[in-house]
């Protein structure tokens, strides 16, 4: 009795699997393809939004997106565990060499642009700073808000951890003012917070705090500082328009890296990322598109 039941189960299983196999062959679409996508925490929301949209239009493709940091993503690409690495900084020379030693060949795509906003508590009367002032604040030369036109309060400096691409970018562009031989360091008492969220929570409740974060992550209830490139220059607030015309000083490119020229599904996905549809998502998340989409969205500011 028992054996008969198992036999029936088994055959029906065989039959059904035959059925499904033939239906896949009948289907014009290829079976599910997987794209592993990992890297920059700055880009993780963007990469997720792209992946979700692309998957809903292409049900045969599965894209998994994880964060961890630019370095983590590039390391994973070098080790061959992901197909696409997201990075908020350009790949380093030694990383390229390491990849080549592993038989790889990283190919670079600038998929979006990002501006870093300097943020303070809404109750802080300071609303504009020069790059030099921000550099002096973070390097410890300016320690009180009254030195930059604010109240008599100590300055609490907030930064991302040293392994964050945003941290390195901020160090090079703001603290060192983009000068290669400049060796300015963060003041030792700079608070290094492990997440964007930590910085936002602290700035929201602490009137002494100054922080920085990707424009895409700054909530509306915090005050964004207008930045001038030099003393006497024009103070510019970050927005899609000001990043596009390069008048805002603290903006950068966001990259995706693949191992070798992408082919097949991967190529289709990357091509789609440069389409107006995908770049529209970039704008919606507060980042800056690489190509100008319809004139309406390119002129709207950050919500």
């Amino acid at each position: 009795m028992n054996r008969v039941a198992i036999f029936i189960l088994f055959t029906s299983f065989l039959l059904s699997s035959c059925n499904s196999a033939s239906s896949v062959q009948a289907d014009p679409q290829t079976p599910a393809a997987y794209i592993e996508n990992k890297g920059s925490d700055t880009m993780v929301n963007l990469a997720l939004a792209w992946a979700e949209k692309y998957q809903s239009d292409h049900p045969n493709v599965r894209i998994s997106v994880t964060g961890g940091g630019s370095g983590t993503g590039i390391a994973a690409l070098i080790n061959g565990t992901v197909d696409v690495a997201n990075a908020s900084r350009q790949i380093k020379q030694e990383e390229i060499e390491e990849a080549k030693a592993n038989g790889g060949n990283p190919v670079e795509f600038v998929v979006a642009r990002d501006a870093i906003a300097v943020i303070v508590n809404p109750n802080n009367p300071v609303s504009q700073l020069t790059l030099q002032q921000i550099s002096d604040i973070y390097s410890g030369k300016i320690n009180n808000w009254k030195e930059v036109g604010g109240e008599d309060r100590p300055i609490v400096r907030l930064s991302r951890e040293t392994n964050s691409g945003t941290h390195v970018y901020f160090l090079e562009t703001v603290l060192r003012l983009g000068e290669k031989e400049n060796k300015t360091l963060f003041s030792m008492d700079t608070l290094l917070l492990p997440s964007s969220e930590g910085i936002i929570i602290e700035v929201r409740q602490n009137p002494n705090a100054i922080g920085y974060d990707g424009l895409g992550y700054v909530p509306a209830d915090l005050k964004v500082i207008a930045i001038a490139k030099e003393a006497g220059g024009v103070y510019v607030l970050p927005s899609i328009a000001t990043v596009n015309d390069k008048s805002y000083a603290v903006a950068r490119d966001l990259y995706m890296y693949t191992n070798g020229e992408p082919t097949g599904i991967l190529k289709e996905y990357l091509d789609w990322i440069f389409s107006p549809e995908a770049q529209q998502i970039v704008a919606e998340l507060g980042f800056v598109p690489v190509l100008t989409p319809s004139p309406v969205s390119s002129l709207t500011g950050i919500p």
Binding site: G68, G69, G71, T72, A75, R153, P154, V156, E161, T162, N163, V168, K183, L185, F186, M188, D189, T190, L191, L192, L193, P194, G198, I201, E202, Q205, N206, N208, A209
Partner: protein
């Protein structure tokens, strides 16, 4: 029949013995691994640099002193909070509380011990740190003290439940003897019950401190992680960076085999040696106390 029983007993004894010795084996293996990965740091970085005061690994500053003092000050603060509070709670539960209170309190304390540390960390940044900033008029609420308070909270359940067990196992005759001699309840607790349970209470304290010094997530979220040398008492109220938070924050992104990687393992080694030292100190105290007790009794 008898033969099979012998055989079974043989296997079971061996199994129990093996699991006992495996603890030693694992600790030894971990230590060897730490040595192998951590010691190269000494050849990569000069010792003077390793014990300097600037930690900024992406520019090759590998001074671990700020991290060491950061860990110590947070742990010290946590111990100052958790030890009296934990032992006090244990004494209350075991000696003073009526039966029904005890029946409610003990599971509640143990529930507190099961709270995930990331939850406590969120509580720390959202509630405790803003409160401390305003209440103590500090520049920021993300300080060593905030970490100490939360770590104290994490260590208390461990201390309470181990110390309470130790107090509970003191024979009732000891207390009755003290009462018969006319000792008050407080005198009985302070002079008789607590000393009798000394080794268990000390173990509780050690486990609690061990829990505090090894805690990572909460500390990383609330202490601000600024690598500043913490030498004065005032440092308790400024941001610090602990060794555990440093390893947790940086290990994920470090290149395998680089100087930074070896230095992080070196920090792990230092942490290991600290907890080893604390444990040896504690067990030698317990051991000495036992010997004295035996001498008096014999």
């Amino acid at each position: 029949m008898e033969k099979s029983l012998n055989w079974r007993e043989f296997v079971i004894t061996r199994l129990i013995k093996a699991s006992g010795y495996s603890a030693i084996l694992f600790v030894a293996l971990i230590f060897i691994f730490l040595l192998r990965e951590g010691l190269p740091a000494l050849s990569d970085v000069k010792i003077a640099e390793l014990f300097s005061v600037r930690w900024y690994p992406i520019e090759e500053y590998f001074g671990i002193l700020p991290l060491l003092t950061g860990s110590l000050i947070v742990t010290l603060g946590a111990a100052l909070i958790a030890v009296p509070f934990g032992i006090g709670t244990a004494v209350y539960i075991s000696e003073i509380a009526p039966r029904w209170v005890r029946e409610i309190l003990k599971p509640l304390v143990e529930l507190l011990g099961g709270l995930p540390s990331v939850v406590l960390g969120f509580l720390g940044i959202l509630v405790l740190s803003p409160f401390l900033r305003v209440f103590l008029d500090l520049p920021t609420g993300l300080t060593a003290f905030t970490g100490s308070l939360l770590l104290g909270g994490i260590a208390v359940p461990t201390i309470v439940s181990v110390a309470e067990d130790a107090l509970d196992s003191v024979p009732r005759a000891y207390r009755e003897g003290a009462w018969a001699l006319g000792a008050t309840r407080w005198q009985t607790i302070w002079r008789v019950t607590l000393p009798a349970a000394k080794s268990g209470v000390l173990t509780a304290v050690m486990l609690g401190i061990g829990r505090a010094i090894g805690e990572t997530m909460t500390v990383m979220m609330v202490t601000g992680n600024a690598p500043v040398l913490a030498l004065k008492l005032g440092s308790l109220f400024s941001p610090v960076r602990t060794m555990t938070a440093t390893i947790a924050a940086e290990m994920g992104e470090v290149a395998n085999g680089s100087t930074h990687y070896h230095v992080l393992f070196f920090i792990g080694m230092v942490l290991f040696l600290i907890s080893l030292g604390v444990n040896i100190a504690a067990s030698s105290v317990v051991f000495r106390a036992k010997k004295r007790a035996e001498r008096i009794l014999s």
